[in-house]
């Protein structure tokens, strides 16, 4: 049973529940106390000890049901005649036609015909004992270390390995021998063999579902992180959004902690005296001078024109999450001209906000000069020496006046001016890209073609205020 629990922990990790060794020890102790007799209580116990959020509880609950429906567990309880149909539906269905067709013809002829000596597996299949077959599959799964399965490409390998372990070679010989001696029996055995193959494949797929999720998810995320954002297919876009949300969550967890740091060694005399007035000015409680740190102030200006439309979705999503991390964010979107979108991003859900912004400002051809002029006219006064200004855009001005002079003024007023460009460095300066001219006035210019770079860039910006 210990083995089973360990496998369950691994399956739980695959389902996205982070199970630390300490938690698994707790769970073991709890289960040792509770026992396995009541499945409902067992589930509650595991949910209590392992899952630490509501979402985790949900996915762990599903994982539990999947895991304990698994035929693997059938190896231990011997009294499972009523369980067997749910556990092995596939094998059941595939076997029954063979059963009905072959049974009456071969049922009595079996012994008298003098068939050749059959291998253990063949005998098992011929006797149609479902429990025995399920047990054999479970044993083979253990022997083949099925819980090590990680990728869907390994399915074939594991099926073969399990069948080998169950003695498929002998079975093939048996079928060959039977074909000459007793063709109808041979047919029946062949059908049963097919059923067995299906059952094994089923078991392997289920194992993949249980144990493979973790790795394949990590692998997929890793690929996504490095994939260029401008060239994603629609299916990936959904996953990418989930990934960006995950990144945003991580940023929030890292940076939303209150920022207090004391400067030890510098006594704040005034406040110390005031604090200790009750004890006649004897300084029991000391107060130290605090270093004042700037609260993050961010102005984000995002290009949503046609040329960057595919990327701007992600930019907006990230700005949306910035609004959650940092209290003082003003955001703007532009293509032909510039509008403020702070309110939309603050109040609406990401999807709503994005579609509204795109409807208001999106998909035009970009005019950097005019948009910068709009910004200067309307909002230049919000840029203070404490502000970080982030510009997200490809700097493709459609050969219009870039108005780099305005950008210079913004750069001079602000603490930092960061430009994140979704184009590769190679493309900067070619065609209508004015990146080199803008770059001279920016504190940092970063290429931002994939999610990893985006995460780094935003993390650096927020970290500058820590």
């Amino acid at each position: 049973m210990r083995e089973n629990l360990h496998r369950f922990f691994r399956a739980a990790r695959g389902a996205g529940v982070r199970v630390s060794p300490a938690e698994s020890i707790d769970a073991m102790r709890a289960v040792a106390d509770i026992g396995f007799s009541d499945r409902g209580i067992l589930k509650d116990t595991l949910l209590l000890t392992l899952a630490k959020t509501r979402e985790e509880k949900q996915s762990l609950g599903e994982c539990f049901d999947l895991f304990f429906d698994h035929p693997e567990l059938d190896a231990s309880p011997p009294n499972a005649p009523d369980d067997a149909p749910d556990d092995e539906p596939k094998a059941d269905n595939d076997n029954s036609p063979a059963d009905t067709s072959g049974a009456e013809s071969a049922g009595d002829g079996n012994s008298s015909e003098g068939t050749p000596e059959l291998g253990a597996l063949a005998r098992m299949l011929m006797s149609q004992d479902r429990n025995e077959i399920a047990t054999a599959i479970a044993q083979a799964a253990n022997a083949a270390q099925l819980s090590e399965i990680r990728y869907f490409t390994q399915r074939g390998l594991f099926s073969t390995r399990m069948l080998d372990l169950m003695g498929i070679a002998r079975l093939r010989d048996d079928i060959d021998a039977l074909t000459t001696a007793n063709p109808s029996e041979a047919e029946r055995l062949a059908a049963a063999t097919q059923g067995l193959r299906d059952a094994v494949r089923e078991a392997v797929s289920q194992a993949l579902l249980l144990y493979g999720r973790e790795e394949s998810e990590a692998l997929r995320n890793d690929i996504l992180r490095n994939a260029p954002m401008a060239r994603l297919d629609p299916r990936q876009v959904k996953e990418m959004q989930a990934l960006i949300r995950m990144i945003a969550r991580r940023l929030r967890a890292r940076y939303s902690k209150p920022r207090k740091r004391q400067r030890r060694g510098h006594l704040d005399v005034r406040r110390t005296l005031r604090r200790n007035a009750a004890w006649g000015g004897v300084p029991f409680l000391t107060t130290w001078k605090r270093r004042h740190r700037d609260r993050p102030k961010i102005v984000a200006i995002c290009d949503v024109s046609g040329s960057v439309a595919r990327v701007s979705d992600f930019f907006l999503l990230l700005i949306h999450s910035l609004h959650e991390v940092v209290s003082d964010v003003r955001s703007f979107a532009f293509s032909g001209h510039l509008i403020e979108v702070s309110d939309i991003l603050e109040k609406k859900s990401p999807e709503e906000a994005m579609s509204e912004i795109m409807a208001k400002a999106g998909f035009g051809s970009s005019d950097y000069g005019r948009s910068l002029a709009d910004f200067e006219k309307g909002w230049l006064n919000i840029v203070t020496p404490k502000t970080t200004v982030i510009v997200l855009g490809d700097a493709r001005t459609n050969n219009l006046d870039p108005r780099a002079d305005i950008l210079r003024r913004i750069g001079e007023r602000s603490k930092r001016l960061v430009w994140l460009n979704p184009e590769g460095r190679m493309a900067w300066g070619w065609g209508d890209s004015e990146m080199p001219r803008y770059a001279t006035f920016c504190s940092v210019v970063r290429q931002c073609t994939n999610a990893r770079q985006l995460e780094r860039a935003v993390s650096d910006i927020v970290a500058a205020y820590q």
Binding site: S20, R29, T49, W279
Partner: protein
Amino acid sequence: MTDYRPAASIEAVESGLATAGYIANRQIATAVYLSERIEKPILVEGPAGVGKTELAKAIAAWRGVKLIRLQCYEGLDEAKALYEWKYAKQLLYTQILKDKLGEVLGHAETLPQALDKLHNFGDVFFSKEFVEPRPLLQALEQAKGCVLLIDEIDKSDAEFESLLLEILSDFQVTIPELGTISAIVPPTVILTSNAERDLGDALKRRCLHLHIGFPEQKLEERIVETRVPGISQALRKQIVGFINEVRTLDLKKLPSVSETIDWARVLVLLQSSELDHQTVKDTLNVLLKYEADIETTLPQVTTFVSKATKQNVYG
């Protein structure tokens, strides 16, 4: 109930809590049972008013031990949660010491001798007598055990969480001047949270995590039954049925168990024997706490009332 042995079974916990007037579902009972068995704190999450704090009170009442409650808020620190020095007494002590200094030092000839004598003189400035125990330390000092309720942990600062880690995992605290103080009897620790902010993994790891949601209809009826004794069965069913209907709406704050109980009490006071349109309309403000919510619900009241009463007939 002076002996403090862990409950024998989950059913025992369930009935024990019931004697204290708390109707627990099996999940809650399992959590309480396990926390006693493997000596782990329980972190309870869930919407406001589902009985998170009540659970701690019920355990204390059932066990017949003291309930020590620490209400968390922003800015709560060590001095208010764990211990503080009695500064005024310490001050007095130093003054007494100053007066007696001559006697203590005797007739030391030289400065090194005087210092030597001073070192040999027992130092009580930082000693147990001058410690003012705050809730966390009090909980460890209870000889008969206690229930320590750390309420709304999500309201406190992140630093405070780290302060709790030692007490949660080992039931001990370390005071730099005194050393480590361990619990005489490990207290039952209940932490509650409204999920206002995400708690740290370190804290979560040390706790059993219990999520209490809105109870099932049957359970809620039983809860109302124990909490509002004078209520008729028919009305009880209608109330719970109606509230379950309200919970399907998209409201700012859904009515929870405490609202159900309050509402049942109000209806009993108004001596209504069954739900009708007018009474519901008049008393809706007991149930819903936002003007906007009341406005959303008002047009639905008639259908909900008829549904609740019908269900009563057939159910």
